[in-house]
């Protein structure tokens, strides 16, 4: 039995209605729980990026990735271990105002977003353990609301894998078009 570990999967796709559920179904079918999922337009216009964090075995993650890539509207899927990426989450806390809370949040390097007469809203970015630790520390003072985003990540490698892939596709397309027009000429 292979041991489970954390993986960050990035999926690049066309912006098509219903694709999110097609992608998540792949995890459901293999009984893999999604720890976090964020989605937004990528740096390339018209291409959507999903960042999915899962805990599973190396073998399963490879199978899942191939199943996702099989979806017609998915461009490319990459898998990373936590060491290969810089990742961040953002957490917002709405806490009852008091002097001790204000001292605590100052010590924890947070951004204060709003101060009202009876509450403050602060923001902390970091890894899950860090945002979770602040939540625990704030709890005794009364956390009225707490919300945490999914993970976003950029890869440490200097190579821009998606760009390389798209260039490769473009090259193949040009080649096949050239071949097709050759054939037409010879006919």
């Amino acid at each position: 039995m292979e041991t489970e570990q954390e993986y960050i999967i990035t999926v690049f796709s066309e912006n098509k209605v219903g694709l999110l559920s097609q992608i998540t179904t792949v995890f459901t079918c293999r009984n893999v729980n999604i720890e976090s999922l964020t989605t937004s337009e990528s740096a390339l216009q018209g291409i959507h990026k999903f960042t999915i964090v899962v805990r599973t075995t190396p073998e399963t993650v490879q199978k899942v990735v191939r199943q996702i890539e099989k979806k017609i509207d998915v461009l490319k899927t990459f898998v990373y271990t936590p060491e290969e990426v810089v990742q961040q989450e953002i957490a917002l806390y709405k806490v009852t105002r008091s002097n001790s809370v204000e001292q605590l949040v100052r010590r924890h390097n947070v951004r204060i977003l709003e101060i009202d007469t009876d509450y403050i809203v602060v923001e902390k970015t970091g890894h899950k353990e860090e945002t979770q630790q602040l939540f625990r520390l704030l709890q005794p003072y009364g956390v009225q609301q707490f919300v945490r985003s999914g993970t976003v990540a950029v890869i440490k490698s200097r190579r821009e894998l998606l760009n390389e892939y798209l260039e490769e596709l473009e090259k193949l397309r040009r080649e096949s078009e050239a071949a097709a027009s050759e054939t037409e000429k010879s006919n």
Binding site: S13, E14, G18, Q22, R66, E69, K70, I72, A180, E184
Partner: protein
């Protein structure tokens, strides 16, 4: 996969027309000549337009939408073309789901067009509304919804391209009623590529070199052929590979007929009810060459034991199949029509006569202990195997054989024998009872010059028996061999072998099939005695129109050999 490479970009501009007309024009541009369908409220505009296209598009009115999809599957499987269906929204659409799932599992190219309620009503639980794009996500290769007439040509171009390219599969296009009624200038551009979709991955030359080296070095190799060879039209390329490599070849259920049964290197069918040799010798093999097959669990038995002493080469068009069940030592991605010649070119000419002779020894054991008793049973009742054999002899092993699912399917696959490719239409992956009768209708329309013989049990026939009405109305001359044992035979066999003969709800009390046949205008004969069988089969073969031959067979016959589910294939049982 066969047409994507020679597809050229083609633009057709035309006048303004309704979405319904645009749909039918799209069909014509894509080379469609036959539709299988059933009208209903949300697709009436398309049917209205179809009234003017009757001279160019043949529409087969089925009796249930599931039948439309299975018929389109039969059509696609024998012809290599895309099967096309047309049904209404809501129940019409949901009735097709089994067929779509079957087509996805067995890689059958289909385009299903469903009507949908008007776009302003979407999401309101309107009459006959279902979220069909949502429902069919898991059973289609791709699907989409079209809400405007001007989007129809592009959606259809993409649908046909996706359905037939790469590993083929079913595609659903859900068209709202207002899109069918709206009008737009007709402009059709065939699709030859999609940015996010790689239908045929490129093989890695290093893998081909490695595969060739393994083949050259192997002492006990076995090639295993799947439907990928048929879907890729690669029968000749396979033959060349086999001749040069000299390796024995076995087939999966869906790969049957890609290699003629009497080919010198052919050693039989793999899997649960396959032949003795390719199963029992699985652990003797030192190299398995999987060619366009996906290691279904009915083929591998226990995957941990499958080819446990062999290296494995996997030639496969779908990268998601590589390593899914069985680890491939050398995966070769790509269309087998391209990769097989590249492999053939790299290998040395070899012979494996002694190794193949060992398979013939296995054949003799199987012949003695399984086949002879099955084809020449001692008891008074006719057995399924001898019925299949009698039909096969009458047709000289040259017919399109369509089967339902269960014991008759396995007997047909084991005993018919095939001379040319695309001669078996059967539901492999999904195992859909009720597939046979409608698939036979489609097969006859897809291969009008060939004889089409359906083997079906009494259980499966009654699942889609209403399609006898389609045969009657559209005058489709299929020959139906009903192997009637008044049992759900395969389940009964499992109950006998694994559930202490507790026949829980597997016995059928059947209607009079003769009356049903005659009510539907079919010629009919019932045979109970062995001495009438040949004569009855000859009569069926000679009949001009459709014919139902009911053969009352032994009630408690079992299919052997058998690999118990989940056991290593080498633990195959002969009795």
């Amino acid at each position: 996969m066969n047409s994507s490479s020679d597809e050229t970009q083609q633009t057709v501009d035309g006048p303004r027309m309704t979405g319904s007309q645009a749909l039918l024009e799209s069909f014509l541009i894509e080379g469609v000549d036959t539709l299988f369908g059933y009208p209903g409220g949300a697709i009436i505009p398309v049917y209205d337009a179809l009234y003017d296209y009757r001279d160019r598009l043949r529409h087969i009115l089925v009796r249930h939408e599931q039948g439309a999809v299975h018929a389109a599957q039969g059509y696609a499987r024998v012809s290599g073309r895309v099967g096309v269906c047309l049904v209404t929204s809501g129940p019409g659409a949901t009735n097709t789901v089994t067929g779509l799932a079957d087509a996805l599992m067995d890689s059958t190219p289909l385009v299903l067009v469903t009507g949908q309620v008007g776009s302003s009503l979407l999401g309101t639980d309107a009459f006959q509304e279902t979220n069909f794009v949502g429902i069919t996500q898991a059973v289609t290769k791709w699907n989409c919804q079209v809400k405007r007439a001007e989007e129809i040509p592009a959606a259809m171009a993409k649908a046909f391209y996706v359905a037939r390219s790469g590993r083929p599969g079913p595609v659903v296009v859900d068209i709202t009623k207002d899109a069918q009624c709206g009008s737009a200038p007709f402009h059709y551009e065939k699709i030859t590529s999609i940015r996010s979709y790689v239908p045929v991955p490129e093989p890695d030359p290093a893998r081909l070199d490695e595969a060739a080296r393994l083949i050259d070095e192997a002492r006990r190799p076995l090639a295993m052929v799947g439907q990928g060879v048929i879907l890729g039209n690669a029968e000749a390329e396979l033959k060349a590979f086999l001749e040069k490599s000299g390796v024995p070849v076995a087939s999966t259920l869906l790969g049957l007929s890609a290699v003629p049964t009497d080919a010198p290197q052919y050693v039989g069918m793999l899997g649960m009810h396959g032949n003795y040799g390719p199963n029992i010798r699985n652990r003797d093999c030192d190299l398995l060459i999987a060619i366009g097959m996906r290691f279904d669990d009915r083929v591998t038995g226990s995957p941990a034991h499958f080819g446990e002493n062999a290296r494995i080469i996997h030639l496969e068009i779908d990268p998601a199949e590589i390593g899914k069940i069985i680890h491939a030592d050398v995966p070769v991605t790509g269309d087998v029509r391209q990769t097989l010649p590249q492999l053939t070119e790299r290998i040395h000419k070899r012979r494996h006569d002694a190794w193949i002779a060992g398979f013939r020894d296995c054949d003799r054991i199987e012949q003695e202990r399984v086949i002879r008793p099955a084809l020449h049973p001692s008891g008074p009742r006719i057995h399924m195997g001898e019925a299949v054999d009698t039909v096969a002899r009458a047709y000289a092993n040259d017919a399109v054989v369509v089967t339902d699912v269960g014991q008759q399917q396995m007997f047909a696959a084991r005993y018919f024998g095939f001379r040319r490719t695309r001669s078996l239409v059967t539901s492999g992956g999904l195992g859909t009872m009720g597939f046979g009768l409608p698939a036979a209708i489609g097969a006859k329309l897809g291969a009008p010059d060939r004889d089409v013989v359906l083997f079906v049990g009494d259980g499966g026939l009654q699942m889609t028996i209403q399609e006898l009405g389609t045969i009657f109305q559209s005058k489709i001359p299929v020959k139906i061999v009903l192997l009637n044992n008044s049992f759900l035979g395969m389940v009964r066999q499992w109950q006998e072998l694994f559930y202490d003969s507790r026949y829980s709800f597997t016995e059928l009390v059947n209607p009079d099939f003769g009356m049903i046949a005659r009510a539907n205008g079919l010629a009919y004969r019932c045979v109970e005695h062995r001495e009438e069988l040949s004569d009855a089969v000859a009569e069926m073969k000679a009949a001009k129109g459709a014919y139902l031959l009911e053969v009352r067979v032994d009630r408690q016959e079992n299919v052997f050999p058998m690999v118990p589910a989940g056991a290593p294939v080498a633990e195959i049982r002969l009795e």
